[in-house]
Symmetry: C2
Subunit: 455 residues, 2 copies
C-alpha cells in the first residue's frame, strides 16, 4: 500500500502532539481513511513455523514437552506439569488479600457482567425451539453448552483481571461444565488480581503455562491438562499463530487486532472528556487507534488543545503519544449523518456517540462492536463494569462478527422428526432432487419410507 502524506493544519512545536487532522469533505479522504485503517497482523513466517513445531511436539510428547517449553520460556524449574497448577485455595487466598475497595469493585463488575449475560442467554434463544407441522412432522433446534473451555490469559504487562471476568463469566452463564485457565508466569511472578478474578469468575482449574505450548495442551490434552472444546482469550503472536492452527480441532474466538475507539461527537461534550476517552484507548499500546469524527472545526481544535494540555499529565504518555501520532486522527465531517456513514465503513470495535439524542444516531449504525451512547457512557465504564462484554471485534471485523457472548459457549443441533405422513411428501421431493444430483442411495433411502415404493 502506498504511503500517504497527511495534511496538518498547523505546525506542531516540540511539545505539540502531531495528531493528524483530516477533512472528510475533501476528495482524497477515502484514500486517507483506507491508509489510516490499514492494519495487517504481521504474518511472521518464523513465528508461525515455531508455533507449528511446538504444537506438533506437545501433541506427540504431552506433559514432557509442555514442561520443557514452560521452564525454558518462562525461566522456571518445575519438575512436573501438575506443580504448575494453582489450586482453588490459592485463588481464594488471592481474593481474600485484596483491599476491600478493590475486592468490592471486582465483585461489582463480576455481578454486572453476569447479570447482562444472563439476560443475553434468555434473549438469544438459548432454549432452542421446536414446532409441529400439520402432518405431525416436528422440526426444531436444541441448544447445548460446550463441555469444557480453555481461557488464555496473557502474563506480563497485558495481564488484565477484567479480561478473566469477561471470558469466564459468559462461559459459566452458558452452562459450560469446566473452565480451564492458562496464564504464563514468567520468572514465577503471579498476578494476584488475575488470580482473584479467576476465583470470582468461578474458573475451575488454573495452570501457569502460556505461549503456543499452552494452546497445544488445551487443544490436544495431555496427561495432566484436560483437552478443551474451545479456546478463547488474547495472546501474543505465538499464541495467535497457534490458535489459528488448532482451529478445527477446537473452536477459537476471533484473532484480536489492536484495540480501537471511534468517537462521534456533535461538539456539545466537554472537550477534556473526549480527549481523555481518546487517551484511554491510546494508552493500551502503540498500535491502538483513536479517531474522532465531528462536524465542528472549532470543537476539534478545542479537543486538540485539550490533548496537548493533558498529555504531559498522563503516566503512560509515551504510549499514548505514539499511538495518537501513528494511528490517531481528528476528522472534520460534513454533519452527523456523514459521521454515521463513515462509522459504518470503519465498523469500530468501540463507538462512542457523545451527542444530544444519541439514539437518533445509533439507529443509523449498522456496524460496531459496542456502542456507547451519550456523554456519560465513556468506554472505560464498558471496559470494566457496565455489563456487556469487553471482548469485541477489532480491525473492521464488526462487519461480520460479534462481541464475545453466551452464544460463543453454546452450539445448536437441528432436530428433524419426520412423521410417516411427512415422509410421503418429503420423500418424493428428496428423491427427485437426489436423482438430479446423481446420488441414488439418497434417493432410495427416501423412497424406502414411501408406502408406494417405486421399483
Amino acid at each position: 500500500m502506498k504511503k500517504l502524506r497527511f495534511n496538518k493544519t498547523q505546525q506542531t512545536g516540540s511539545n505539540m502532539i502531531a495528531i493528524r487532522k483530516l477533512d472528510a469533505g475533501l476528495p482524497d479522504f477515502q484514500a486517507h481513511l483506507t491508509a489510516l485503517l490499514a492494519f495487517e497482523a504481521s504474518e511472521d513466517e518464523a513465528i508461525d513455523q515455531a508455533a507449528a513445531r511446538i504444537l506438533a511436539d506437545v501433541k506427540a510428547r504431552g506433559d514432557a514437552a509442555v514442561l520443557e517449553y514452560t521452564n525454558r520460556f518462562d525461566r522456571l524449574s518445575a519438575n512436573s506439569v501438575s506443580l504448575l497448577e494453582i489450586g482453588q485455595q490459592e485463588l481464594q487466598a488471592a481474593l481474600a488479600e485484596l483491599s476491600p475497595e478493590r475486592r468490592g469493585a471486582l465483585q461489582t463488575a463480576a455481578d454486572r457482567v453476569r447479570s447482562y449475560h444472563q439476560r443475553q442467554k434468555i434473549e438469544c434463544g438459548s432454549d432452542g425451539f421446536s414446532y409441529t407441522e400439520a402432518d405431525g412432522t416436528v422440526l426444531g433446534q436444541k441448544v447445548t453448552p460446550l463441555d469444557r473451555v480453555g481461557i488464555y490469559v496473557p502474563g506480563g504487562k497485558a495481564a488484565y483481571p477484567s479480561s478473566v471476568l469477561m471470558n469466564a463469566i459468559p462461559a459459566k452463564v452458558a452452562g459450560v461444565q469446566e473452565i480451564i485457565m492458562v496464564v504464563p508466569t514468567p520468572d514465577g511472578v503471579k498476578n494476584p488480581l488475575v488470580l482473584a478474578a479467576a476465583a470470582i469468575a468461578g474458573v475451575d482449574r488454573v495452570f501457569t503455562i502460556g505461549g503456543a505450548q499452552a494452546v497445544a495442551a488445551l487443544a490436544y490434552g495431555t496427561a495432566t491438562i484436560p483437552q478443551v472444546d474451545k479456546i478463547v482469550g488474547p495472546g501474543n503472536a505465538y499464541v495467535a499463530a497457534a490458535k489459528r492452527r488448532v482451529f478445527g480441532t477446537v473452536g477459537i474466538d476471533m484473532i484480536a487486532g489492536p484495540s480501537e475507539i471511534l468517537v462521534i461527537c456533535d461538539g456539545t461534550t466537554d472537550p477534556d472528556w473526549i480527549a481523555m476517552d481518546l487517551f484511554s484507548q491510546a494508552e493500551h499500546d502503540e498500535l491502538a487507534q483513536s479517531i474522532l469524527l465531528c462536524p465542528d472545526a472549532a470543537y476539534i481544535a478545542a479537543v486538540e488543545a485539550s490533548i496537548n494540555r493533558q498529555l504531559p499529565l498522563m503516566p503512560r504518555q509515551e504510549v499514548i503519544r505514539t499511538s495518537l501520532v501513528n494511528r490517531g486522527a481528528l476528522v472534520k465531517v460534513r454533519d452527523m449523518e456523514h459521521a454515521c456513514e463513515i462509522a459504518n465503513h470503519i465498523a469500530a470495535e468501540h463507538l462512542e456517540i457523545s451527542a444530544e439524542n444519541p439514539q437518533h444516531w445509533a439507529d443509523r449504525i449498522r456496524h460496531a462492536g459496542a456502542m456507547f451512547l451519550g456523554r456519560f457512557s465513556s468506554e472505560a465504564l464498558g471496559d470494566y463494569c457496565a455489563g456487556p462484554n469487553h471482548v469485541l471485534p477489532t480491525s473492521r471485523t464488526a462487519r461480520f462478527s460479534s462481541p464475545l457472548g453466551v452464544y460463543d459457549f453454546q452450539k445448536r443441533s437441528s432436530i428433524i422428526n419426520i412423521s410417516e405422513a411427512g415422509a410421503q411428501t418429503l420423500g418424493q421431493v428428496a428423491a427427485e432432487l437426489a436423482y438430479g444430483e446423481g446420488l441414488q442411495a439418497h434417493a432410495r433411502s427416501a423412497e424406502y419410507r414411501l408406502k408406494d415404493k417405486p421399483q
Copy 2:
C-alpha cells in the same frame, strides 16, 4: 498414529464387503474408535503456498489476475471478468427449462428451507434486546445483518444445487442485502440445476470463477467483483486453504471435513432402510464415514447382510464400498444408553436415532450437528427438503459449532447508555479497577463523569 488392526467377525469372500465390526464392550474399543474417527485434513504445504501466492496476486492485480487464473485453470478464454458474470436472465432461463417435477421439487425444498430459517430468525433473538436499570442506564444488544456475502459453489462432480439453497436462503432471511455467488465452470460447462437453484434462492450476482482466485476476489474485491463481508460454502483444498488465510479480512464458515452419519438403532427398523441410510452417506465420497451403533448383534448381522445384498445394485457402489471398508463400522453396544454416550463422544454431523421413542434418547445427546429422530427421518430428507440446514459441523466439531443458520449472517453490537446517575456508581468501580491494571487514562475518563471528581 499407530495403525490398529480391527477384528472381523467373519471371513469376507470376494463379494462380501469387509466392513469392520467392533464391540464397544471390549477394553480396546476406545483405541479402535479413536483410530476410526482420526481424520486430519491433509495440510499440504504446497497447496497452502500456492493459495497464498494466488491471494497476494489477486490482491495486487485484481481483475487481471482473476482472469488469468480462471482462463488457465478452467481452460477458458474470456477477455474480461465481466464476461464471466451470469446475468439474472440466464439464471431464470435455467429455472424455466427444468422439468416441472424437478422445478417443483426445487421450489418445495426452497420454501421449506426458507420457512425453517424464518422461524429460526424469530426464535434466536434477532430483534436484539434492551433493558433499563433503576438509575436509568440502558443496556442491550442490537442485531444487524451482514451487508454482503459471498457463496462458494464447487464445480464439477460436487456441484449440488441443494447447497446453493442451503447457503443462500439463510443469508436472505437474515436480511443480507447482496449475495454474490461464485462457481467455477471448467471448460465452460455450466450446471443448469445450480443456476436454477441460484434463481430460486434469490442470489444477486453470479460469477463463473473458482479456486483460490475466487476466494481472493470476494475477500479483497476487484474492479468487477464486489468485496464481501463473509464467504461461505465448501470447496477443494485450495479453496479451503485460501479461506483459512482470508479469515479475519472477511468472515468464513467452518472448514468442512468429510461428511459423516452415525446411526443409533434399537433393532426395530427394517435393516434395508438402515443399510441404505449408511450408503447414502458413503456414496458422497471415499472419505465419507458411516457408523451404526446397535445393542442387538443379530440385527447388526441383518444390516450387514443387507449391505452385501444391496451394494451391487447401487450405481455408485465403488465409492460406497471404499468408504464403508476404509471408514465405516458396525458397532455392537451394551444398550441404547451406551450408544448415546458413544454418540456424544463422536459428536457426529448427522445422527439418526432410528428407534422406538427416539426423543427419549435424543434427550441424552449433547453433541450432534443434526438429529434425525424416528425411522421415517432418513438423512436424505434433511439433506434436501426437511427445512433445517444441511451445512453441518463435521469431524467432531459439533462439540463446539452449529449448523449454518441465520445467525451466521447476522452480528450483534452491544448497547451501553449510562445515565448520569449510573456514571457515578460505575465510574468509581471502573476507576478502582483501572488503577489496579495501571491504566490511568481509563480511570480519569471514568472519573471525569463523576460530580465529585477526585483531584
